[in-house]
Symmetry: C2
Subunit: 293 residues, 2 copies
């Protein structure tokens, strides 16, 4: 697939590092766009691409366009705004990497089909280092034929690649992954916060958690950060609130009671309202350690 | 330590299997007691011990007595009731294995010291097969000298043995382990319940959970049971409610807000009130899968 030209829209730390990764692997990254134009200009110089002032120029100058924007509204703006990616997009492939409300992907696929373009949803369950090294965990939704056609590129971005089902299904799975992860993170913050207040050695407590039914992936990734108050952001509090909110919406539509997801959403929303939305998700411990807030 | 005689009080599935284990390893199990007398009689025949009708006879006929009862009230009854284990207990060692409110262990240690007896708390974070095979995860609270004096026996019961601190500290740690485990279990039940309602393949969903931030020990132990509604009891709903309740008490005493622990306690309490307290903790999925309750 290295004869295809690649565009990127949304050059936050994930998008920028995916672009660097593909460039390094020999892809021709031609077209970049970010609402913060200097970010696009800097990256364009780094990878030998052009930073365009409009989205329609990105479509004009790339065969495959990866979008890595923040939320549903941003997605709506880049595909259905006055200046948009669908203009002149026949034959183009869009790989949409934001975590969105699942219905957005269905709508995008329908609109793309009408104009002869292709959309795939690519939900990522990894972070910045994996974006840079091409070792993302990717879940793909859309037509399976489109998945297969783009598999070499998706493989170059990922260490684990799952075709999940129709458009929207990958976002559903991603929302559930993050919902469960966020709850487990909130649980850990409560356990460590109480342990700290009781004067229990937290290193020993983590060691015991790791050997028992309390073990979890977030124990490995977040416990030390919670203890040391090292909340440099890999996955932000505000993203955690957003993703738990998406899952709550799915649950409500199905009439399922999810009090744990709700309590976790409330905690992350509270932190965001306290102005701590840009902390890492481990920052939830700021609410559960005595004397921290 | 195999020259010491061993007694057991409380012959539920944990206590009975610990007695079988020590018998098999060459200890002399002499004295058994259970409020269900036929349980004690049957086990006595199996391990060559005597089933006594009173607690005072257990103390009279064993050097080391392991108590494995259900809760604080039962503990109070066997040590401070009319017929009790402390009568004539000078020189005896009690190893108390129930998950109790931490303060109960402090009270027991004080009372034991006055009469020249020894108490250790031994909190278990494992289940029936580990009790049978002597591969428990044990956390010990009490005087460190008493821990060292009884270490050979404790080693024979356990695969992992941790001396945690003064009397009560092991129960605190155990309560936190189970609190976090219960929250993670409730989280998993919500994730799988929503996934099921959305028509997502749950085997694939579990596979994805296991490779991402949603991974946890309870994913390994409880996911399949939740999907198959196989709620044969290893750790009951009512025990989950009890242990989460102990943790909530610790948090409240420290002035820490723990909304996740509270929501989990509420779910397990609700199940108990629905008459499902004897299901395994995986039974919480009965509340989150569409059409199950």
């Amino acid at each position: 697939m290295k004869n295809k030209t690649i565009g990127f829209v949304g050059l936050g730390r994930m998008g920028a590092n995916m672009a660097r990764c593909l460039n390094e692997k020999g892809y021709t990254v031609t077209a970049l766009f970010d609402i913060n134009r200097s970010v696009a200009t800097d990256l364009a110089a780094e990878v030998g691409a052009t930073a365009y002032k409009s989205l329609v120029e990105v479509t004009a100058n790339a065969d495959i366009i990866l979008t890595v924007v923040t939320n549903d509204d941003a997605m709506d703006a880049i595909f259905f705004g006055d200046d948009n990616l669908f203009t002149g997009a026949a034959g183009r492939t869009f790989i949409n990497c934001a975590t969105l409300t699942p219905a957005v992907h269905t709508k995008l696929e329908e609109a793309a089909t009408k104009i002869g373009a292709t959309c795939l949803e690519a939900c990522m369950a990894s972070s910045i280092p994996q974006a840079r090294s091409g070792e993302l965990f990717l879940m793909i939704g859309g037509h399976e034929t489109d998945f297969n056609a783009n598999k070499p590129l998706l493989d170059d971005l990922s260490k684990a690649l799952h075709y999940v089902g129709a458009a929207g299904k990958a976002s559903e799975v991603k929302a559930l992954v993050n919902m469960v992860m966020n709850i487990n993170t909130a649980a850990l913050a409560e356990g460590l916060g109480i342990g700290d207040a009781l004067g229990i050695d937290l290193k020993m407590l983590c060691d015991i958690f790791s050997q028992t039914g309390a073990n979890s992936r977030v124990l490995e990734t977040d416990a030390e950060d919670m203890i040391l108050r090292d909340h440099d952001c890999y996955f932000s509090v505000s993203h955690a609130a957003k993703d738990s909110g998406i899952a709550l919406g799915l649950a409500a539509a199905q009439g399922i009671q999810t009090p744990l997801a709700q309590a976790t959403f409330d905690q992350y929303t509270k932190l965001t309202e306290m102005g701590k939305g840009e902390l890492d998700k481990s920052g939830i411990a700021e609410l559960t350690f005595k004397g921290r807030s």
